[in-house]
Subunit: 221 residues, 2 copies
DNA sequence: AAGCGCCTCCTCCCCGGGGAGGAGGGCGAG
DNA sequence: CTCGCCCTCCTCCCCGGGGAGGAGGCGCTT
């Protein structure tokens, strides 16, 4: 039974190239292609590939977000990021999204084929130069976080107020009391900020607050 | 100019085997051997190898400590850990000590030779199965702190598991899936841990996790 | 004047989550 | 052996919170 592979890249030529490289291994079958993140999500669902080779930079939805989506609907699939750029944001974004591999496009054809078999075996793999940066973060952990500030900027002042209180563990009723508005108003603000930040519920909002630096450990008892 | 390599392993046969493998590559020269950590430190100083292949389990001084010592006196040297055991303590100990690679002894001869050239190029490299654990730690993050131990200590292991996933923003259903138990079981654990910690709901549990150091900013996206 | 974003508030609806209480099995300590 | 803790799972119940949709007022820009 061959390994089912889905190719995701906005560049037609790149997909064709990958297809021809993978054709050299009889244990690998390319079951489909997608030229964007949105399409990839649909294809991943309908084609049930074992491995998704995913580009990062794509017009409609980037590879990181697409990876997150694909894995949420198909947790058994393995996603290998394939990109030209070695970029910390990409690397950690991809890994946090659940990617099993992060390869640079300068990888050899044999390396790519080997990578596919490696991830189906349940192991992970990174390009050597990427490994360096990952190790640095695993050994001692700094923290970048740049895009979260941008997301916060999308919130209105009132929404930020509410988020802050949500992150303190207050209920909607308590927030309403604190801000001297009705509870329904609070619910509206919460609804909006969850939507803007792409979060499911207030639990994830608390996590977001801490991860983005809006809240910090020690800021309360 | 060949790559100068120092072999460190308490097993004579292993050193002989490594020597013969490396002999197949003309770009590599084995300049010395050591059968223990203490000896390795001295040899590394006098022989100025580019790469040290270091075993972990050794009688007098283990490979992790030896790595730390070697690199403190010869920061330009690259240390590659070579071990039979894939052990989290070894892996992170080695990486924190500054090792450039962590290979299992089941690595192929070609892989070993490739590894040496990889690290001299300034890159790092891990065995695939090790990569998996390193990624997990780089993506999510590390350890509880000491002062939470009192409160956390009141929780059963299972309750701590659940708290950790609650703090990641998972719903009860998702936690159930992750732990392979029924949702009702998860609800029971959640109920108990909330009671023990004196918290009202899972939102406050997330806050507790961050404030206590169980979760840390940077541990997720 | 028209349009837009923000804040405020509303209703209807549904679900996830937490409370209460109970039950069986495994396992270690006394 | 028995007691007690832990893990597992169950039912019944209720409420908080989030989704959908709408509305009025205010102040900004065009």
């Amino acid at each position: 039974m061959p390994v089912r592979v889905l190719l995701v890249d906005d560049d037609d030529l790149m997909r064709a190239g990958l297809r021809s490289i993978l054709a050299s291994d009889a244990r690998i079958e390319v079951v489909g292609e997608a030229s964007g993140g949105r399409a990839a999500i649909g294809e991943a669902r309908s084609l049930t590939p074992h491995v998704v080779l995913m580009d990062v930079r794509m017009p409609d939805l980037d590879g990181i977000a697409a990876t997150r989506e694909v894995l949420s609907t198909a947790p058994d699939a393995k996603v290998v990021i394939l990109t030209t750029f070695e970029n910390d944001e990409y690397v950690f974004g991809a890994l946090e999204a659940g990617a099993s591999g992060f390869l640079l496009k300068r990888t050899s054809p044999e390396g790519l084929i080997g990578a596919i078999h490696t991830v189906v075996a349940g192991d992970a793999l990174l390009s050597p130069s990427v490994t360096r940066t990952v190790i640095d973060r695993a050994a001692r952990q700094p923290r970048p976080a740049a895009h979260t500030a941008r997301d916060l900027g999308r919130l209105t002042p009132r929404e930020r107020d509410v988020l802050e209180l949500v992150a303190r563990g207050l209920s909607n009723a308590e927030i309403a009391e604190a801000l001297v508005v009705e509870e329904t108003t609070v619910k509206t603000h919460v609804k909006h900020l969850l939507g803007k930040l792409g979060l499911r519920d207030r639990v994830q909002a608390v996590i977001f607050a801490y991860e983005s630096g809006l809240s910090t450990p020690g800021s309360q008892g």
